[in-house]
């Protein structure tokens, strides 16, 4: 028989105002096995914990029930306190009489009755509890960063700085992400390349960092501290070691008509290409969709020209297997497709462009050499209309997003200001619903666009863009002047909503990391654990978690690195002892549990069993890897023979709780 102590917490007035705590303590004191009971104002305080520990010693308790807030709050606190007084942590149970009782009831009598019932269930469970000890597992001291944008770069540099090895997997031929495409950056207007390229070079030169560019994560197995990952290195048909990045091939390749994705299709590149001059790694890549040699076997110009002998038309995808202690997701974002927004004529006129295209047109390394020219005829636009919130802040019934994309108000102000500075004879209109500029020096930046640069900010939305000859007729409302406007613009720039990269969802499935309905990765706690995924060992960096500008991305990236370093510093991790285990004598080897386990913790083994007639027989039975099992209990429910059970939450414990409630 257990010797159980019951402790009822008032939580100030949070519980005591709705639940008669004294009555609860007394009623529970009468339960079988309860040898001590007490109520106290704040059980979680030093004083409260000491009460628990003293009672354990004075009354030789073997278990305890604390009736208090949710176990998510203080289960760990009370278990730790009990362990210090010599009682196994897992002999302490919490009855949640706050979130599940006092906060949701008004009637004191009813709430008190319910609190007693909840306490009784916890006592019934403690009677069947057994001491559990957590196992330990080693930590592989290497991190994987998926995505090589500014987020992934910063996280990798910080982890490497702490002395750990880091691998970056980037699906494009070069790292850099969206920041390598933008021109100048708000709010200080420093040039993106000037601050990004040094970091890219630092990554390339850091001995602790390996870059797997043009690569993707193929398979992930294992658990925190012990992931094993298979990385697909896509064939780029160029030997990375031999290629010197001289770029001769990219000038001589006769296939010139390939849309240049780095410039968003605004110009063309060759079939063999280096995305931009500062690419890291600076290695050429052959585009198999356009290369004549790969498609027809006739050409081979690049291999003739390459003095390093780096071209290899026979190259195949290869795979690398590596072990990691932590995985960082930094897969970033993309602007949404605008084909469905016919009212803005994006698909009808080349002079209706997205903001990212505008960045390329104004970038010195872009298709126009940095001169603002219309894509259709290469003329200077004299009247430009910017439209904010395109595809953001919708109600969810259409093709847009329900959230605010956060960065577009600021970059639109930047575009408008820079245009007026470089081309003072250009009229610039910005249509906004709200101007959202919270951030250090952000609102001042936007006001400068209006006051110093004379950008026309108009509260209202563009309803339609009609291409007419060389002009774009923009029909819009001016809500403050109560007018409908018709502007004959030369260029229309759409601030398209941003969304997570399309590869993020399959990746999340591989990592068993959770996502929200918009495919942004969810954090373990929206306020208190913003850079960790709820899945242990998976961390989040940059826009894959939600829209962010560069300052925020970099802060989050460094915070994420700090968490990873904290993990990699440890030699051993204590596991969760509440894991599943199968009763091999009852298991019929049906594989049902293996199929439902979301973590891949269950495998099957052939084992010898002694049968009643004293013969030996080989049977196939389930076996759980306790280091991988997260204790979700899916298998215990699915097992048709009742062979699977969960330590700490056994079927008999749960039934005892239910019985106690229904008594």
């Amino acid at each position: 028989m257990q010797r159980i102590g019951v402790f009822v917490c008032w939580c100030g007035s949070n519980i005591a105002a709705t639940v008669d705590v004294k009555a609860v303590a007394e009623a529970l004191g009468k339960e079988p096995g309860v040898v001590y009971f007490e109520d106290y104002q704040y059980m979680c305080s030093e004083e409260g914990q000491t009460k628990l520990q003293n009672a354990i010693r004075d009354y030789k308790l073997t278990g305890a029930v604390v009736c208090s807030c949710s176990p998510r709050m203080h289960e760990a606190t009370f278990r730790k306190a009990a362990a210090k007084a010599g009682v196994n942590s897992f002999m302490v149970e919490i009855a949640n009489i706050r979130e599940q009782c006092s906060w949701i009831h008004k009637n004191k009598e009813e709430a008190t009755e319910k609190a007693i019932i909840l306490g009784r269930a916890a006592i019934a469970k403690v009677h069947l509890n057994a001491p559990l000890t957590a196992g330990e597992s080693p930590v592989t001291k290497r991190a994987l960063v998926i995505g090589g944008g500014i987020a992934g770069i910063q996280t990798a540099l910080d982890i490497a700085d702490a002395g750990f090895e880091v691998d970056i997997v980037e699906k494009k031929p070069t790292i850099g992400g969206k920041m390598s495409q933008i021109d100048k950056t708000f709010p200080t207007l420093d040039c993106a390349a000037c601050i990004l390229t040094p970091k890219m070079v630092e990554v390339a030169q850091n001995e602790k960092i390996r870059i797997f560019s043009y690569s993707e994560v193929d398979k992930v197995q294992g658990f925190v501290g012990n992931f094993s990952v298979s990385i697909r290195r896509k064939a780029r048909f160029v030997d990375e070691v031999k290629c010197t990045g001289c770029g001769l091939c990219t000038e001589k390749c006769p296939q010139k008509k390939v849309p240049n994705e780095f410039n968003l299709g605004l110009d063309q590149r060759r079939a063999i290409y280096i995305p931009f001059a500062q690419a890291v790694p600076k290695v050429a890549t052959i585009d198999p969709d356009y290369c004549t040699m790969l498609k027809t076997g006739k050409c081979g110009v690049c291999s003739k020209i390459c003095t390093a002998g780096a071209i290899d038309y026979k190259q195949k995808d290869s795979f690398i297997e590596e072990k990691y202690g932590a995985i960082v997701v930094a897969t970033g974002f993309n602007p949404i497709e605008l084909n469905k927004y016919d009212e803005f004529a994006y698909s009808q006129s080349p002079d209706v462009i997205t903001s990212l295209e505008f960045e390329r047109i104004t970038n010195a390394a872009g298709p126009t050499g940095g001169t603002l020219l219309r894509p259709s005829d290469g003329e200077h636009p004299k009247k430009i209309v910017f439209v904010q919130c395109v595809g953001s802040r919708e109600d969810g019934s259409g093709c847009g997003k329900t959230y605010c994309s956060k960065i577009c108000c600021m970059y639109t102000a930047k575009h408008a200001m820079l245009t007026r500075e470089k081309y003072p004879d250009t009229e610039v209109y910005v249509f906004y619903i709200d101007v959202r500029t919270p951030g250090k020096s952000f609102d001042e930046f936007y006001r400068r666009a209006v006051e110093e640069y004379g950008v026309h900010y108009i509260k209202g939305m563009v309803g339609k863009v009609i291409p007419q000859g060389k002009k774009l007729m923009v029909r819009a409302s001016d809500l403050i002047d109560r007018k409908q406007l018709l502007i004959d613009a030369d260029l229309v720039v759409l601030a398209a909503a941003i969304e997570p990269d399309k590869s993020a969802r399959p990746l999340a499935t591989m990592l068993t990391a959770s996502m929200d309905t918009n495919d942004f990765f969810t954090e373990a706690h929206p306020k208190l654990r913003p850079v960790e995924s709820p899945t242990a060992g998976i961390f989040l960096s940059g826009c894959c978690q939600g829209p962010k500008d560069i300052p925020e991305t970099v802060s989050q990236a460094s915070a994420c690195a700090a968490k990873v370093i904290g993990l990699l510093c440890r030699d051993k991790l204590t596991g969760n002892p509440c894991v599943a285990h199968s009763d091999e004598l009852m298991c019929n080897g049906c594989s049902t549990c293996e199929k439902v386990c979301p973590y891949g913790a269950i495998t099957y083994q052939d084992k010898e069993f002694r049968m009643p007639d004293r013969t030996m027989r080989t049977r196939r039975v389930a076996s759980v890897n306790p280091a991988v099992c997260q204790g979700c209990g899916a298998c215990t429910v699915a097992c048709p023979s009742g062979a699977m059970d969960l330590h700490g939450f056994s079927n008999s414990q749960i039934m005892a709780e239910v019985d106690a409630i229904c008594k």
Partner: protein, 128 residues
């Protein structure tokens, strides 16, 4: 009809929830009849919400709406202003007692040659 009731009726027959409107003005920015109107699509939405229905009912703007549904198509919040304008038009017809039909007149009017649609639409304009 009492103000509050009228607002409720308008919302019920139109199926519009004016609180979804974020006052972006895209509806009015796209409306082809904007210049002919005293009150514009987004104003219909906010005025109904604010209970200023009488002003709307007295305004010729009601009959300038072409029911082209451009605003319905483009509203980012799915508010459907044109449906609300149609509801206000119906309210005017009903209020003036311009019912063409009473239910008990119906049986006498049934005629094989009369399209059923005509009866249905006449009934739609019927107010109890």
């Amino acid at each position: 009809m009492e103000q509050n009731n009228l607002k409720e009726t308008l919302l019920r027959i139109s199926g519009v929830n004016p609180r979804k409107c974020m006052k972006c003005g895209k509806c009015s920015g796209t409306c082809p009849s904007y210049d002919e109107m005293e009150y514009h699509p987004h104003e219909f939405v906010s005025m109904v919400e604010n209970g200023e229905t009488e002003k709307l009912m007295a305004s010729p703007s009601l009959y300038r709406c072409l029911t082209c549904f451009a605003c319905v198509e483009r509203c980012p919040r799915g508010v459907q202003p044109a449906k609300l304008i149609e509801a206000v038009r119906l309210a005017v017809i009903r209020q003036q007692g311009m019912n063409h039909l009473k239910p008990d007149q119906l049986p006498d009017m049934l005629d094989e040659d009369m399209p059923q649609q005509a009866l249905v639409s006449a009934m739609r304009k019927f107010a109890k």
